[in-house]
């Protein structure tokens, strides 16, 4: 199985378009981009996939040791781009994938040549003067909550294979869309929310857009502004929407902001 197959890679847009890679964050898989991808796909080659342990990614692609650190995900993203023979891409990363993108760009700036960070936070837990928005105990509680909820992970497989594509197909959609294997989701929450990537931000050398939601309790405006201030060549834009997922709650504005950024920075195609 290739990595592209294991991570359920999907591609839209013109073959010769400049490449935009969409990376989903903590939560549901690549279908989070379903309203943004077609808009970007009108002019760009758009690639999305499921991170190991999420959505429709093959179970075997998740390795509890490797994925105990964001660097494990970074290596997967770079390996995937290498396998697809892609370079000079724009990586659009939501939430924790924003930091995965930051790490990937530091490692391979020719490959990840532009960054769009959607609702990023370099550290979620408060630390002295730094406001991340979370106390350490909140993260403990979240990790525990992830172990209690499966969102269809244990839907009986029989329902998937039987049936005529009606209800069964629906079950399959439900399951692959947002299913979480409890121990994997708990570890992903742990890696996501206990991380501290503040020191990595000044090492980013590529043009970067920071897109923040106006009312986001997961990654507050202060967190986004901090990311913008620390990345040398970065712009900052606020989408007037509520919630941590502007690509879901305001897909039009989010797509427009990404396209605006791509129009202002030099790209290969």
């Amino acid at each position: 199985m290739t990595l592209a197959e294991a991570l359920d890679v999907r591609t839209t847009g013109p073959v010769d378009g400049s490449v935009v890679v969409l990376v989903h964050g903590f939560g549901c898989g690549q279908s989070m981009w379903r309203q943004v991808a077609p808009v970007l796909g009108a002019t760009h080659r758009v690639i999305s996939f499921d991170l190991p342990g999420s959505g429709g990614a093959d179970d075997a692609s998740y390795d509890p040791t490797r994925h105990a650190r964001l660097e494990g995900y970074r290596d997967d993203v770079l390996a995937l781009l290498d396998e697809l023979d892609l370079s000079d891409v724009t990586l659009v990363g939501h939430s924790v994938a924003a930091m995965i993108g930051v790490l990937a760009s530091i490692e391979a700036p020719q490959t990840v040549a532009r960054l769009v960070l959607v609702a990023p936070s370099a550290r979620y837990v408060d630390d002295g003067d730094y406001v991340g928005g979370f106390a350490a105990a909140d993260i403990d509680e979240l990790v525990e909550l992830m172990q209690r909820n499966h969102l269809g992970w244990q839907e009986p497989l029989a329902e998937l294979v039987s049936g005529d594509g009606g209800p069964a197909a629906r079950e399959e959609l439900y399951e692959s869309f947002c299913r979480t294997r409890p121990e994997v989701a708990a570890q992903f929450a742990d890696v996501t929310f206990r991380g501290d990537n503040r020191a990595d931000l000044p090492r980013v050398t590529v043009p970067t857009l920071v897109l923040q939601s106006a009312h986001d309790l997961v990654a507050p405006l202060t967190a986004g502004r901090f990311v913008h201030e620390q990345i040398p060549d970065s712009r900052f834009a606020v989408i007037d929407t509520a919630g941590h997922c502007p690509h879901l709650t305001a897909p039009g504005e989010t797509s427009a902001a990404i396209l605006d950024f791509l129009g202002r920075v030099p790209t290969a195609a």
């Binding site: 903590f26 549901c28 106390a135 909550l145």
Partner: protein, 378 residues
Amino acid sequence: MRARTRLDPDLLQDAPAGHVTTDETGLVASANTEFLRLVGRTEDDVVGRLELADLLTVAGRVYLETHLAPLLQREEVVREIELDLLRPDGARAPVLLNARRLGDEGSRSLQIVLLGAGDRHRYEEDLRQAGRLAEAARAESAALAETLSRTLIPPAPPSVPHLEIAAAYRPAGDGREVGGDFYDVFQVSETGWVVVLGDVSGKGVHAATVTSLVRHSVRTLAIDHPDPADLLYGVDRVLTREQTDHYCTLIVVRMDYRERGWDLRICLAGHPPALLRAADGTVTEVGTPGSPAGLMPEPSFTCVRHRLGDELLTVYTDGVTEARGVAGMYGEERLYALMGELSHDPHAQVDGIVTSALDYQDGNPADDIAIIAFAAVG
């Protein structure tokens, strides 16, 4: 047949389940009595003023934002979500939540039903805690078994001048339990060495203590019992006095290097004979059957002498020959034929026999396997 009637709205108001709706902006639009009881607030506090997120713990809000809201935006219903409501005094009220989207795809207008789940939550928490403790105990016992195995089975036999030795040990099953097989190779004089291979009956920690006792008794007795038969009488007495239900089969090979060659004394205690493989591949058994140690009231052990030429000598435990596969027992015949085919080298013999015995059982051996093979060199 009775005519069906619509649900009385008053029933919903007093339903024994929390019921709440949110409008397009996400604010609470209506809340019934049970819901207000669960969140510990009044209608005026909640309706038109708070969102569902405001009534959740921080963890619950993150979960709502990252999982439930995206799911509800696309799917119509989510079911059986465990969350904690946050009451004004900071107390948490565990609930089970079902929610249904009321508007079009993407709408934030929801109908939500909540059941208090405090007792169930405590019960499940106890179960999870019990699971964690059981897993920790299992891990500790596996680690103990591994440590014990390492003390009973040398990772590699020592290097003996003028002798090429290969040895292998493969515990039964997944290797988590301490098996009864052991071997040892040690020096007793300037030119004298002892090779011992044994199989203590039974498994588990108690069998392992007996294995340890036998292994140390052999080492101690070997110092002033150059005749392996005397040594085995001693081991038998030790086990009998120990009053254990476990007994032990053993093969002891005393080796003395004299006049540029090895004189062997081989003695069996209820154990399969040693196997001599000639350079032409012929395999012959060496040894006189003897009693298992610690089993018979009047045991008997007899030594056999052999001057080692260019043959290979192999000793093994019955985990090899009593392996069971689809074709029945592995058996001596299959083993001797295999040894004839394998090359005339201790390592090739040991590796080949282990691989064959494992393959025969689909890689999941029913019993421990221990093998030592050696040949004279230089």
